[in-house]
């Protein structure tokens, strides 16, 4: 289980996220909607533990342990993984080196080939990671690495952005594998938190809980499909008006 309590996060000296509360139980996938600049990526980065995203208040616990002060790699080794929206190019580090690093000795060359086959990235294993990759290739590569890492909690930052319609189905397939969507609900352990701007990914990956985030706070909790319908129909402005009417404003 992931439990976020009264979390506030600052980047440099500016507080971006205020008093966020969120709980994801084992086997659940949650979706985070929100306009640009709402603080969605900041929340994911803070959960992953990047030092630039400084927690000023509140706590994050994972699998019953307070991880608020753990480093990125400690969190990764505890079972948190992240698909980056715009991962850096690391010259000289091959895609297969990254997959091997994610495997942490749990597989061999064959395992890497199988994962590449699955993500349709066979021709990319020898290439420098993310160097000259298209939008869809970046996303598939991120998911391939996560499939090697097998995190219990997967943080996905706009997994469908820059992906064409042909590739989005494959992205959905890889995500379903990662989030154990093919297992009966009772047996699922893996959790997911997905940021989506367009909601297209919901056509491929099922989720039961959605949030709308705006100005660094979570305004609404509900069924993500219903939320998406409202957002599509009325836009984020209506969403914001709705919950501004219900929630006390953050000072």
């Amino acid at each position: 289980m992931l439990k976020i309590k009264d979390l506030s996060v600052a980047v440099e000296d500016k507080v971006i996220i205020h008093d966020v509360n969120l709980t994801i139980k084992n086997g659940e996938t949650h979706v985070l909607f929100g306009p640009n600049g709402a603080g969605k990526s900041t929340l994911l980065m803070a959960i992953m533990g990047f030092p630039k995203y400084r927690i000023t208040k509140g706590s994050i616990s994972f699998k019953g342990k307070d991880i608020t002060n753990l480093s990125v790699d400690e969190r990764a080794r505890m079972g948190i993984g992240m698909s980056f929206q715009r991962p850096p190019v690391v010259r000289g580090v091959k895609t297969q080196d990254m997959v091997a690093a994610c495997l942490q000795g749990r597989g061999d060359g064959d395992t890497i080939s199988q994962l590449a086959e699955k993500a349709d990235l066979n021709d990319f294993l020898e290439r420098d990671i993310n160097y000259g990759f298209s939008g869809g290739e970046v996303k598939r590569s991120e998911l391939m690495q996560l499939l090697a890492q097998r995190p219990e909690l997967t943080l996905l930052d706009e997994p469908e952005s820059g992906v064409d319609l042909v590739n989005i189905a494959l992205i959905g397939e890889l995500m379903n594998d990662l989030l154990e969507k093919n297992c009966p609900i009772q047996q699922r352990k893996c959790m997911g938190l997905i940021i989506t701007h367009t909601g297209h990914i919901l056509d491929y990956v099922n989720a039961r809980t959605g949030y709308v985030m705006c100005d660094g706070t979570i305004g609404c909790v509900g069924d993500p499909h219903e939320m998406l319908a409202t957002i599509r129909e009325k836009g984020y402005e209506e969403c914001i008006k709705c919950y501004l009417g219900r929630l006390p404003l953050y000072e």
Partner: protein
Amino acid sequence: MSKTDTSRTYKEKARAAIEKKASLGEDIDISKFTSEDENPTYQDDPSKLPAKAKTQMLDAGVMLDDPSQRSGTYIQMDNTPVHSSVSQDGVEVMPVGQAMEKYDWMPDYWWNAVAVDQDKYTANIELNRYSGYFIRALPGQKTVFPVQACLYLAKDQLVQNVHNIIIAEENSEMHIITGCTTASREETGLHLGVSEFYIKKGAKVTFTMIHSWSPEIAVRPRSGVIIEDGGLFMSNYLLMKPVHTLQMNPLARCIGENATARFNSVLVTGEGSSLDVGSRVMLDAEGARTEIISRAITTGGVIIARGYIEGNAPEVKGHLECRGLILGEKGIIHAIPELKGNLAGIDLSHEAAVGKIAEEEVEYLMARGLTREEATATIVRGFLRVDIEGLPPMLADELRRAVEASEKEVM
């Protein structure tokens, strides 16, 4: 002109240049060093050389216990050849003095790719006791295993004078590994090495040089390469241990159509070292190509990484890539890429980057579960990895092992 006349002319030119400072690099007082060595004894079986020397040589890529992986071997200790042998047809390996006696045509290759009066160092080689190797691939012959050569500096305060001649006859193919190393980590020494390469029509040579010097050694190699029609010269240079001062700027001239020169350099150094390493290529014939790639890492020393490409003929193409990484607080990397085009219709480009490891890259790897140290090591390893097109797998493996060893030096 007879051999004697030629020799006299070179001696005169050398005497005129003996005070001539090099245009680059710190000036070294050669008078502090002696050319006279202890006359090390010749060994028919190089595996019988002292164990310590063999270990040092192995670090520089020279294998003496298992010669089956080599087509020939040359070993020079100080200024004396102590072994030369060939284990495969089609290739000749011998001390350069022996080749001088054997072949009348040797003057055609003597001080032809490098000028004897280039500077005081080339002059010093001509005027003092020297040796060096002669390696030749016979016409049409392709050797699978590389020829290995070791230039070993044993005596304190010695100047090692080397003059090598490498000839790849038409349509031949060979690989050479030269390992340069020293017996002691404390003693001082000066290594002066001239290497003249002649790549004939359609010939291919890969020349891998591994420098494993010590912090008290000064090094001034002087190399020249002449490449004829369709010839390929590929140089892989790896400096993996700190050296006091090293300056070199080899010059390759593509004089034949579609001739190709490639230079890959990996420089790793630390505090107290000063390196000035470049590669120059003149694209003098139609369709000539070059690629110069250098990677430099310093943990405290100074590295000047140069590259120069000049296009003098139509349809030539050249690319220069120079990347430097400064690890730690100290250290200087000065990248100087230069391109000169002397006519239209040429294609020359360069990219250069100097900096520290990007924190964003380290954190990306940490998010996959690697510790900060593991992530940094992975990035450094990647930085040093130069994928060399056309390198035989065995050589690529050996180079990888050598780079991994230098990576340990850095980390």
